[in-house]
Amino acid sequence: MDFLRPTSLAEALEMKAADPAAVPIAGGTDVMVELNFDHRRPEALLDLTRIEELTGWSSADGRITFGAGLPYTRLIDELGPVLPGLAMASRTVGSPQIRNRGTVGGNLGTASPAGDTHPVLLACDAVVEVASVRGRRMIPAAEFYVGVKRSSLAADELIVAVHIPSATGPQQFSKVGTRNAMVIAVCAFGLALHPAERRVGAAIGSAAPTPRRVSAAEDFLAGELDWDSPRPLTDSVTSRFGELVASAASPIDDVRGTAAYRVHALSVLARRTLTWAWQEYSAS
């Protein structure tokens, strides 16, 4: 196995172009598990940890751009106030040690339906910046996930950065697991209120072949919420929202939970997170 160690993005892209089968590795929290269990034996690993531009972040015009190699711990500490939903999701990833190593870029690269950050990236209209020697492209999160552990990344491309608007309203992330920490999602839900645009972003994880936006539920709320003079939500609104979220799921039965449980739990998470977010909005 070759171990490629580029020191700049340009060098990394050339290496990836020359050897599209090379597997990028940053935190290694997914890749190393696969290697150790012999589930995967790539010919080459492309180590991204020496590329400085992948680990920074910047802020301009109400948008945050952070490098694909920014560890969860730094995201939580440094961007928590402006990206509260993403920070909440990052907080549920693995253990402190895993969060010190793992990155959102890795979460995207693996593109598991159970990846913790995906529902928030979808709800917040994040855009994934990818690059190759052919140039750069911007992929909206909603177009990034195309199947179970498959993304729209081309073989010669690397994930470079995530562009995401700073929060302009309350955000929530909620995930069900069968223990109280260090657990892979049985199902997850991300919610972002966008008051300026009078709309809500919402997405589910671990409940379909890909992370998925729940458009019908989003549209329903856009019609129900009174942004100018917010009143407590009626049970019928939160329940209907929960139903619409649940009905967008197409889950399976597996060792982590049943399809029926996932559907039910999503409706509960949707109701609760909406209530919390709307209370926060109403109080502000």
Binding site: V176, R179, N180, A181, G257, A260, Y261, H264, R272
Partner: protein, 741 residues
Amino acid sequence: MTSTLTQGGIGTNVVRPDGTLKVRGEFAYSSDLWHENMLWGATLRSPHPHARITSIDIASALALPGVYAVLTHSDVPGENQYGLEHPDQPVLASTVVRYEGEPVALVAADHPETARRAVALIKVGYEVLTPVVDVEDAAHGRAEPLHPNGNVVRHLKIRRGPQDVSADVVVSGVYEVGMQDQAFLGPESGLAVPADDGSIDLFIATQSLHDDRRQVAVALGLPLAQVRLTLSGVGGAFGGREDLSMQIHACMLALRTGRPIKMVYNREESFYGHVHRHPARMYYEHGATLDGRLVYVKARLYLDGGAYASSTGAVVINASTLGVGPYDVPSVTLDTWGVYTNNPPCGAMRGFGAVQAGFAYESQMDKLAAALAMDPVELRTLNAMSQGSLMPTGQVIDAPAPVAELLRLVSVKPLPGKASDSLTDMPGGVSNTTHGEGVVRGVGYGLGIKNVGFSAGFDDYSTARVKVSLVNGEPVAWVHTAAAEVGQGLVTVLQQIVRTELDVSTVTVAPMDTSIGDGGSSSASRQTYVTGGAVQEACRRILARLDGRPLADVLAGQELDELVEWRHRPTFPLDPETGQGMAHVQHAFSAHRAVVDVDVELGLVKVVELVCAQDVGRAINPDGVVGQIQGATAQSLGLAVMEEILVSDGKIRNPSFTDYLIPTMLDMPPMVVDVLENPDPHAPYGLRGAGEPATVSATPAIVAAIRAATGLALPRIPVRPEHLVQEALEEVAQDGLLGGQ
């Protein structure tokens, strides 16, 4: 002669020598062993739970550069049959495989990766057979026999008191326990080093050096003296290292290649490489008077032993003899079957049969309390056994049994206040599933009884050698046993005993190996009792040689050296028709109170507090005792709410720590522990084995608390979120919300 002059004797919190190293990640485990010139061993395992082997082709594997040996059943030098109680398990499968993961062939190579690739090149032809997976079918002759004597490893009957009984109030239930794993953190590993004379040294993480040696020697066709075992760093055991894993395999490869062989399982292989806790299905009926006195217990227990016997026979004895709990029951009719199936082999795990029964009888006690409209604490207190009580076997409890007092201690503790607003205090934790919505509190109680030591006539002994000499004018002691330090703190306990007995502060514990006689297994909460007893006796024989002279004076001209083989009082086999007899040397008791918060909409559980009281007779190392109680309780919490090896058609579905979940710090709450010290007059220092009782009482207490919060019956553990929101899930199905699939 007991002295308290020397610091660090019994009853003090001596710090363990391995503690700091383990916390700092510097402790050398058996997986860290290394030898110049060594090769790596790897194992080919059956992908099928039940199949006939039609062919094995090793040619391509042998041809791989770097491969030094590929061995199959025909290469087993001695008997291709071993086992803890019954030699029914092949070292390498020859004609048939009986469980998924059964070893079929071995490889030695110069690199672990090469060994793994060679394993993948071995071609085995299988004719797949239908697996036997149902425990009751296996017990009652409704399944194809998997072994020459059929599928019943043991059927034990207990018949106590009048058998034609009825009662005013009767409750019954069917209870199930899933397959729990010991989940020790150090995977199976060891190093076999061949010697020029054809003998072998095995450095190994095990619970019992001599049990291992006996089985290894038979399989290798070597006399015992030519098989030498030395204990290596053990990363936890909990019963999962009573049976052999890679011991014989590494030795076979070493003898064949003439090179040292290292074998280390990874986590996935570990799930296939050791026995688990027996899953159980249990039918119970309790009868009581209107004022709550137990009249009878009738029960049938089925324990799934999987493909090979392992310690199923002994597990059956414990589940049966302890099967009604720490209660006075005048009439008992109880049958337990331990059977063969094509499920993963099951054997020893902390609590050993008592855990499964404990979940059932404690669930029954709560059900009975509800039927009588009695407080569950009051009902238990009314029926609690005490010194002088009779076991279902007729055995008299001839040592303190303060069952009611243990229960009182946990029940009078102040209840914890409402949870804080912090997510870490909520069901779901930082996953942010509730801010208090749907959260309902429940409180539950559990009592448990566990035997200590090996039972039913087993010749249970240990061997210890203690030597005292002068070093630089100071007396120093040296103690040698073959009893395995598996992380329980035995090294420290033995030092404490020597200090107390001989009033010598410097005590060296020699490496544990087979150059001394058997120390018995580090199982059944027995080592402090039995090996501790042997060390105490060796010390006392040394003292007897002093004739009242000061130790230093006597040591001026000689060293004092005593080798002792020490037995606890005998136990006796049970009557085959009635199950009557003095089966156990000692009984230990514990009580738990559990307080839980349940998110009743999502089915998520946060155990808020666990209170335990346990009588240990004498706490040799009080901190060690509390650690045992906390550890046992944590493992029981796992069984109550998350830990299960999921098996479908004989196949394990979750062989990893990604999906076999064990409790984290956010799952295991703070504990309040009361340790009682009512001495057992038959035991050294009056001590009582401490490692297991809490595994019996914690699980039912937690489940009782969840029942109290939800009103659900919950007859199966682990309790999963799905079980707690069943009504809502039925609505999901009715509403056709799954149509999107």
